[in-house]
Symmetry: C2
């Protein structure tokens, strides 16, 4: 038992994990709750913060424990503190967002109850996680203008149409193919793999990798992607 002179809330971390593939579009990773409250409901992976770890460390740990994912880049996007958001006791959650490559990992997941849901088709969630998801999506839309989101969400080798579909899925709009291509080319972070010798028109798309050095240059000088 732990005693304090004043009441303390419990503190948890939650992770909104975004993944992407061509079939399902933008998806989030959810786990089915095995205990009350909201037993059987889907929720974001997360759990109570330990006293010897900061919030980001805790979020990464919970993510690993519950889904087997080791997220590269995760970032904090909000803290949710409504008084009655958890029926058990006062719980405040620090929410993180992570972008991962859906296929790359998920090899040796053992007791993982985690499942991907397309964002358009997410079931009602436990606690206030519906609201957390809504805000995560808003923040993701903002982020996409300043960070090359494809780095984290797409496989290492990808095509321009794939990249465009990703942007369209996140922002919920449609772009002109030609304008999108030239805009991306101009940024200079796309590196053709050269696996397709002919650069003529063909139905098989050219494949690219991201040029990380060029991206880091851009990040330092500050860049913005207009849409």
């Amino acid at each position: 038992m732990y005693t304090y002179q004043y009441p303390h809330p419990a503190v948890t971390t939650d992770c909104v994990i975004f993944g992407y593939d061509i079939c399902e579009g933008l998806s989030v990773l959810l786990v089915e709750r095995g205990v009350e409250p909201f037993k059987g409901c889907w929720a974001f992976p997360g759990g109570f913060l330990k006293m010897d770890e900061d919030a980001e460390t805790g979020a990464r740990r919970e993510l690993m424990e519950e889904t087997g994912f080791e997220a590269v880049s995760i970032f904090q996007f909000g803290t949710f503190s409504e008084v009655n958001r958890d029926p058990r006791e006062r719980v405040i959650t620090i929410a993180y967002m992570a972008l991962v490559q859906k296929d790359s990992v998920k090899g040796g997941d053992d007791a993982s109850d985690a499942r991907w849901f397309p964002v358009k088709d997410v079931p009602p969630l436990a606690f206030d996680h519906d609201r957390i998801l809504r805000i995560a999506l808003e923040r993701l839309k903002e982020q996409i203008h300043f960070h090359p989101v494809g780095f984290d969400l797409l496989p290492e080798v990808f095509t321009l149409p794939q990249l465009q579909a990703l942007y369209e899925a996140i922002l919920g709009v449609r772009f002109d193919r030609r304008n999108f291509a030239s805009k991306m080319q101009k940024l200079g972070i796309l590196q053709p793999t050269g696996d397709r010798p002919s650069h003529l028109a063909t139905r098989i798309p050219q494949t690219y990798r991201f040029n990380i050095e060029r991206y880091n240059e851009l990040k330092n000088s500050g860049f913005r992607l207009e849409f």
Copy 2:
């Protein structure tokens, strides 16, 4: 005494209050700590969250108690959870940012130890508040591209040179007078007060108010201010 089965961190809120005037430029409101730890140091107004209030309510309450300010718009910009950020016990703080008109309030402040410091001239702060300030400034710079920051920081009636100086103070850059003026005019949220009948060149600047209706229109359709 309050007992829990698992250890709980303490949770506080802190408010980074930005104000602005022509002489001092961009400033933050600090309070001098009267108790250990960091007694005598300056820190952001804030304090422990109560169990029956959410974080924003708590931030507003602490702000009112410690400085007498009733902030119009405050927004959460980060939660700080380093393990040893408070020497007493594990404390996590939810940080808010507020923009206020320096002169408008501060009439009947009684026991207020609060003082304004220009951001360029802030003393070393208690806890990790230096870091919190740095991040608040970064976020403010981002915000300024999407929100008409002048609304909250300038007095109701202001001049274009004043508005420009505010933007320059926040972003730390200089603008061309003519370009800045036309950019702002084009947004359509500036409403000349008409107190100066002659619209010819004169050394007395034209005064404006913000057109709030027009701003709300823009916010719904989404606007961006390039610099």
